[in-house]
């Protein structure tokens, strides 16, 4: 568990370093994810200690997203003027985005597998 967590932190730090060195716009943790994926592909297996940590921690991802999500309430003053327009545009784009993306890939996947 702890060993796996060390690996995750190590790759995040590596990611931060790569992002800084190459002046990239992606966050260090996303770069860390890409680097770990590359290493796993090269290794051709997920070491058990890493799998264990992933299985233990990933179900709590929504919990760790709570603090930043509460920030939504902090900008009420900026939103209030255009509130209705913002809510409608978010809702429209939510349905459009889910429908277009979901139906496109769904159809493409089914078309080939038939």
């Amino acid at each position: 568990m702890i060993r796996g967590f060390c690996i995750l932190i190590l790759f995040q730090l590596l990611g931060e370093a790569v992002v800084a060195m190459f002046h990239l716009i992606v966050p260090g943790q996303v770069m860390g994810m890409i680097l770990l994926l590359v290493v796993l592909i090269a290794w051709q297996d997920v070491p058990e200690f890493l799998d264990l940590t992933g299985r233990a921690l990933l179900p709590y991802l929504p919990l760790f997203l709570v603090p930043v999500s509460v920030g939504m309430f902090a900008y009420w003053d900026l939103i209030k003027r255009d509130f209705v327009a913002i809510v409608i545009s978010l809702l429209v784009s939510l349905f459009v985005s889910l429908a277009v993306t979901g139906l496109t890939l769904n159809a493409l996947v089914k078309a080939r597998s038939k």
């Binding site: 995750l8 932190i9 790759f11 995040q12 990611g15 716009i25 992606v26 966050p27 943790q29 996303v30 860390g32 994810m33 890409i34 994926l37 796993l40 592909i41 997920v46 940590t53 921690l57 990933l58 179900p59 709590y60 991802l61 929504p62 919990l63 760790f64 997203l65 709570v66 603090p67 930043v68 999500s69 509460v70 920030g71 939504m72 309430f73 902090a74 900008y75 900026l78 255009d82 327009a85 913002i86 409608i88 545009s89 978010l90 809702l91 429209v92 784009s93 939510l94 985005s97 889910l98 429908a99 277009v100 993306t101 979901g102 496109t104 890939l105 769904n106 493409l108 996947v109 080939r112």
Partner: protein, 239 residues
């Protein structure tokens, strides 16, 4: 012995553990509601938790910054957990390779529809230009959204609000809506959640299965990278 009752409350809310306490407590309350209601979409633990904490902070006059500092240790976990998404991605790498061409087509079509529809509706309804620009990055994970919005000239803080709002809406409505319109392939479900609701959608997708989670993580990553490359470039031409 003199007991100072009035000192109890500030001692609680000023304690550095208070933020973590209400985060865990409200999340657990959300989980309780979600399980008791048989998985009612609006009782997503994260949605309940954010609402409860928002209410507590506002009613007690605690500024968001104070809460965030107290709960920041939770926030820090997001880094290693994002890295951990490489595991479901690797486990599903065969399926991803197999579908790569179709994935990229869907990314372009879905990403354009997602961003275009939000900006178009705001423009039609007379939203101001700063707000329309801040909407461009709404489907991208927070740190990328901040840099993109700075680059194209919107309000980064506003963009973050939109990112979170669309994320939470997607978690609450997404799985139900995808079922309704007949999206049955796990890869398509995950990809739609990831394109629309980034990390929040991916957290939900992981609950729906390994493959759904992997495709959501993939969509989140690709959407972030594609937006970071395309939006500043597009902004040059249209502004």
């Amino acid at each position: 012995m003199n007991i100072d009752w009035v000192l109890a409350w500030p001692a609680i809310t000023n304690s550095p553990i208070f933020g973590m306490g209400i985060t865990l407590l409200s999340y657990e309350f959300g989980r309780f509601l979600y399980l008791k209601s048989g998985g009612f979409a609006l009782f997503q633990p994260i949605l309940v938790s954010v609402m409860v904490i928002g209410f507590v902070l506002m009613s007690m006059g605690i500024p968001y910054d104070v809460y965030f500092k107290q709960a920041e240790s939770f926030h820090l976990f997001l880094g290693p957990l994002t890295v951990a998404l490489a595991i479901p991605l690797y486990i599903n790498i065969k399926r991803i390779r197999q579908l790569l061409g179709r994935i990229l087509v869907t990314l372009i079509v879905g990403g354009t529809a997602s961003i275009g529809s939000a900006m178009l509706v705001l423009w039609i309804m007379g939203g101001s230009e700063d707000i329309i620009l801040s909407m461009a990055a709404k489907s991208v994970t927070t740190p990328i959204a901040i840099s993109i919005t700075e680059e194209i000239g919107g309000y980064p803080s506003l963009a973050v609000t939109f990112v979170i709002a669309i994320g939470i809406l997607g978690v609450a409505i997404g799985p139900w809506f995808l079922r309704l319109i007949g999206v049955t392939e796990p890869s398509a479900k995950g990809f739609a959640l990831g394109i629309t609701s980034h990390a929040l959608g991916t957290a939900k997708a992981l609950e729906m299965g390994d493959q759904v989670g992997a495709f959501s993580a993939l969509a989140m990553g690709l959407m972030g990278i594609a937006s970071a490359l395309a939006l500043p470039w597009l902004a040059q031409y249209f502004l």
